[in-house]
Assembly symmetry: C2
Homo-oligomer: 197 residues x 2
DNA sequence: GCGTCCATGTAAATGGTTACATGATTAT
DNA sequence: ATAATCATGTAACCATTTACATGGACGC
């Protein structure tokens, strides 16, 4: 899903400037399932404007730089609808923190603990922000569903990490059990493995 | 986190060919938190070989093409350890399916249901594969932790979707409540908003 | 003064995906 | 026959991230 569609999605919730769109990806309802930086938002808005999917209104402000407020057009809504009806690509998840915790035994105990607590803390903050939220009271079914889904995931992570904190962090000895020389386990490449270290 | 570090991580679990490494990212313990295709794995392995982080052993096979089995070296382990001690970047999540469900009201009811059930089904399959798993019995604390974390997340998604299926799918009328013309809600840009559709 | 928030944009560099190129074996 | 699995690699393409460029207002 390209940045243009993502921006159309944000603008579907209301007109906004590029700067405000980025905030939506950081704090708004999209934060948990997508991301975008200035470098992709501004070119996307230019392309959308050229395609007639959005309009742009220069809005002067007092004490602040001028804004370019973008609003979705009917053509834009139609383009979003079309994009929404394509078969969805599979989820993409990339977590360096989890990758690190996977190799907990290779980590310096201090770093291991720091990564763990930081990750847990971030998730707690997400939940706090999502539940404290007073704004955006009139949400649709889909928006409520996604909000609740995000909350459910974050809470599951918090519960799990709280429960297994000791199992991961208590052993300061870092007992690294040497694994066998094969990655799969069930793949029938038994005699193909070759030691070469 | 670049592909080289990811490959080193896989090779830490045992020697493997590029083809087998990709399978690890699809079905193995990394599948839920990272991904990589051939186009990034093969160049990464070449670079690792040149850097001395891995060794390569050409392994002829009967009835199958030759394999290049890569094994991590001590220098590779050290490089992985270094990469593991950098501060982790924030998680990246991209879900087209969730983006679509966010706009459930814009979706054709059939498509809405299809996306929902496909997403739920994928998660059920993940759990089935992860729990049925007979291989990889000797896992470290970190590996068990991450495996359990993945399971906890998938189960949370399944439970949530089962619970709120009707709330999202039952209404065939698609009552789209018009949201106000502002994306934030709590950002103090009240009078800055400009209608222009 | 210094850092942060507001606000927009471009250009270079990085890096990943997709498509191409090849080819044997096995199962349906 | 046809598709899938096994197996490696390159090159073109696409997209994002990062750095650069600019500048006023506000709080510490």
């Amino acid at each position: 899903m390209d940045s243009r569609t993502l921006c159309l999605g944000v603008l579907m919730l209301g007109s906004a400037s590029g700067y405000e769109i980025k905030k939506q990806f950081e704090e708004g309802p999209f934060a948990h399932f997508h991301a975008a930086g200035f470098g992709s938002i501004y070119p996307a808005l230019s392309a959308l404007l050229k395609a007639g999917h959005v309009t742009c209104t220069l809005t002067p402000q007092e004490g602040r730089p001028d804004k370019k407020v973008y609003a979705i057009t009917e053509a834009g809504r139609e383009a979003l609808r079309r994009a929404l009806h394509k078969p969805p690509a599979g989820d993409i998840v990339r977590s360096e923190a989890v990758f690190m915790l996977f190799f907990a035994e290779l980590l310096d105990p201090d770093h291991r603990r720091a990564v763990f607590e930081a990750y847990l803390g971030e998730h707690r903050e997400h939940v706090a922000r999502m539940t404290a939220e007073t704004g955006c009271p009139c949400r649709s079914d889909g928006q409520r569903f996604v909000h609740g889904l995000g909350l459910a995931i974050y809470r599951a992570v918090i519960d799990y990490m709280d429960q297994y904190r000791d199992a991961l962090l208590m052993r300061e000895d870092a007992g690294e059990s040497a694994p066998p020389d094969r990655p799969g386990g069930e793949t029938a490449t038994a005699e193909a493995a070759v030691q070469n270290g």
